[in-house]
């Protein structure tokens, strides 16, 4: 089957084709003033003419040219809500005469397509793939949901002020990790459709589309390049080593004084994966269940051991979050845990900006002697 890019006049044609195959399509939907990822039941459910305005501590949906499909970027939710549900039953147990029996819930995962996945979100899924299949253990539920999901991605034609994926090499154009990829061309002239898998090719073939012209292909490339250039934030390249070398940098106190410890950043972050478990019983005490739910390293109980929490200060908890995300993650999973999506910046109620903090932490610690010229960072 051909893998040459095609020209898609209207994204709802593709959405309709997926729905016609009985695939559950989950895609962008404006919910309570923000883009959420919800089931799209009809082709006309795909929003149009929407953009957003984002800055530290700020997110608003906005209007754009009525003919534009994908000018908004990422909202507070990410696809982890679906692949790694916020609350999940792991198993249940029934008391028996001589003990108990264990059973596992049957979790249906119909054939699913994620529609409108941004490049940074593909990166986030690939990061979580390594978390939930870590070389020693596999989370079978995650693996099943992930394997049962088609990815229809959208290369961003616009960046929000909070985006910095160009500096983390996770966008604004995806080179892999999708079944089908869209890039919106000039308003009203349709989209470039790129094919990333056999299944993507099969679905595209059902649409009987015209091949994209060289001009359309070039326009899509130029759009991505312009989106990258428009980004004003950039994560310092050496941040992993910088954070590892500076656990006592005075900036940690500075940011801790502003951070409320509300955990918004960890909930919004598409790669944060920490969980708590809860064991519950019914009133009879004969039926027990074990539930897993999202947790946050900002909670003080997170490190509770007999006698008290290990990370008692706000400073130590912020340091853990950021150092894990940008530094320890490399040791654990072979990449940064940050995709440059900017969610933690926009959704922090006090506007703490991980990029600004990274730059502040990259400034020499004034309390330390200046490093010798050839000393390693």
């Amino acid at each position: 089957m051909t893998r040459a890019p095609l020209h898609l006049p209207d994204p709802t044609l593709l959405l309709a084709a997926l729905l016609a195959e009985g695939i559950r399509v989950i895609g962008p939907a404006p919910v309570q003033g923000a883009i959420a990822y919800e089931p799209l039941d009809r082709p006309e459910d795909l929003p149009k003419g929407l953009s957003d305005s984002q800055s530290p501590g700020h997110y608003r949906l906005a209007e754009t040219a009525p003919g534009r499909w994908f000018d908004y970027v990422v909202g507070p939710q990410s696809w982890k809500k679906w692949l790694f549900p916020a609350r999940q039953k792991l198993w249940s147990a029934e008391r028996t005469a001589d003990g108990f029996e264990l059973g596992q819930p049957d979790e249906p995962w119909p054939r699913t397509a994620f529609f409108g996945v941004r490049p940074c979100e593909i990166a986030a899924m690939e990061i979580q793939d390594r978390v939930f299949d870590n070389g020693s253990f596999t989370d079978p539920g995650y693996a099943r949901r992930r394997a049962g999901t088609l990815i229809v991605s959208v290369n961003c034609a616009r960046a929000a002020e909070t985006c910095f994926c160009a500096s983390t090499a996770t966008g604004p154009r995806a080179e892999a990790g999708y079944d089908l990829a869209l890039t919106e061309l000039a308003t009203g002239t349709g989209l470039l459709l790129e094919i990333g898998s056999d299944e993507g090719a099969r679905i595209a073939a059902t649409l009987a589309l015209a091949p994209a012209t060289p001009a359309q292909i070039a326009e899509a490339k130029a759009t991505s390049a312009a989106t990258a250039r428009a980004q004003t934030r950039a994560m310092p390249e050496a941040i992993a080593g910088t954070l590892k070398a500076n656990p006592e940098h005075p900036q940690w106190e500075d940011v801790a004084a502003r951070c409320l410890g509300c955990a918004n950043c960890t909930l919004a972050c598409p790669t944060c994966f920490c969980t708590d478990v809860e064991d519950v019983t019914d009133l009879s005490g004969d039926h027990a269940e074990r539930w897993r739910s999202w947790d946050s390293c900002f909670s003080i109980d997170f490190t509770y051991v007999h006698g008290g929490a290990v990370r008692r200060s706000g400073k130590s908890r912020y340091r853990q979050w950021m150092t894990h995300k940008l530094s320890a993650w490399h040791d654990q999973f072979g990449s940064s845990g940050c995709t440059g999506c900017g969610r933690c910046i926009a959704w922090c109620p006090v506007g703490i900006d991980i990029v600004a903090e990274a730059h502040a932490l990259s400034a020499p610690d004034p309390s330390l002697p200046a490093p010798a010229p050839h000393e390693e960072a």
Binding site: L90, W91, A93, R95, D98, G99, F100, L102, Q104, R111, V131, F132, N134, S136, F137, T138, D139, P140, G141, A143, R144, A147, G148, L150, E199, P247, E248, F273, C274, T275, D276, V277, D279, T281, G285, A288, R290, R292, D295, C297, F302, T303, Y304, V305, H306, V310, R311, R312, S313, K315, S316, Q320, H324, S327, A328, H330, D331, Q332
Partner: protein, 282 residues
């Protein structure tokens, strides 16, 4: 989108039955367990299991039995809260859910030929006991065997009878010390580090492989004392403890810098964690 092969779920416990329950020091009990179905669990000294008490919850507990007798899976637990209380209260015939074994092990077989030095504080003796058993079972393979054990008071000395039998062996050095004596106590008084010089006297520090488990502060001072005595830090091993909810590297709770204590630890070679042990609230 072919359906992936079904993978066994590492989050689902296996059921075990208590074959023996034995009270230890106050608030502490040892249970021996056998699986309801399937083969007994083989493990390496230093590994731990996640123990699930029906309806109450699940906690990490080290395996404290003899690795040469996997049919007798053994755990020693102290009652400090909800789940540990339920586990300490288990009786013969009760059922328990278990996931494991998890984590890294004391490299006790690799230490053959060396002088095995065990230093334990309080309940830290439990995770060391499987390694001690291994050395006792294979004593001829080791140049020496020394146990230095400290507890807060004589009443808090775990496995006291067993320690006396070890002490009576001619090929085993045992130093026991308590922080606070009570009338009648004729043994040593003082923190573990004060017992070290005597325990190490006459032993070439270059032959020592040290295995240390106890409260973090005790381990820090012990490691300093060992270093001062000339035991190099790449021959010292420690077992770390952190909050953990899954033991699989998924829940994130036990992170210690770049390591997950549950799967990269709990046993670490000291030089690989030394810098981090010095950082507060890591």
């Amino acid at each position: 989108m072919a359906a992936p092969l079904p993978t066994p779920d590492p989050m689902l416990p296996r059921r075990y039955r208590v074959t023996r329950a034995k009270g230890e020091i106050a608030g502490t009990a040892t249970v021996e367990l056998a699986p309801i179905d399937g083969a007994p669990m083989t493990f390496s000294p230093g590994q731990f299991n996640m123990l699930y008490a029906f309806g109450v919850g699940e906690i990490p507990v080290s395996i404290s039995g003899d690795p040469a007798r996997p049919g007798q899976l053994t755990h020693t637990t102290r009652d400090v809260g909800l789940v540990s209380k339920a586990i300490v209260g288990l009786k013969e015939g009760d059922m328990l859910g278990i996931r494991g074994p998890f984590g890294s092990a004391w490299p006790i077989e690799a230490a053959a030929g060396r002088h095995a030095l065990f230093i334990a504080g309080g309940l830290g003796l439990a995770p060391l006991r499987p390694a001690i058993y291994h050395v006792l079972n294979n004593r001829a393979d080791y140049a020496g065997l020394t146990l230095v054990y400290g507890a807060r008071s004589p009443d808090e000395l775990l496995y006291a009878e067993e320690i006396s039998t070890w002490k009576s062996r001619l090929d085993t050095e045992v130093e026991v010390t308590v922080d606070h004596a009570r009338p009648g106590w004729t043994g040593r008084v003082g923190v573990v580090t004060t017992a070290l010089p005597h325990a190490l006297a006459g032993t070439d520090p270059a032959t020592i492989e040290a295995f240390i488990c106890g409260p973090e502060i005790m381990m820090r001072f012990t490691l300093q004392a060992l270093e001062a005595a000339g035991v190099s830090s790449d021959h010292c091993w420690v077992s770390m403890e952190r909050n953990m909810k899954c033991a699989l590297g998924f829940c994130g709770h036990c992170q210690f810098g770049g390591d997950f204590i549950c799967k990269d630890g709990p046993v670490f070679r000291h030089d690989t964690v030394a810098a981090r042990l010095g950082l507060k609230e890591l």
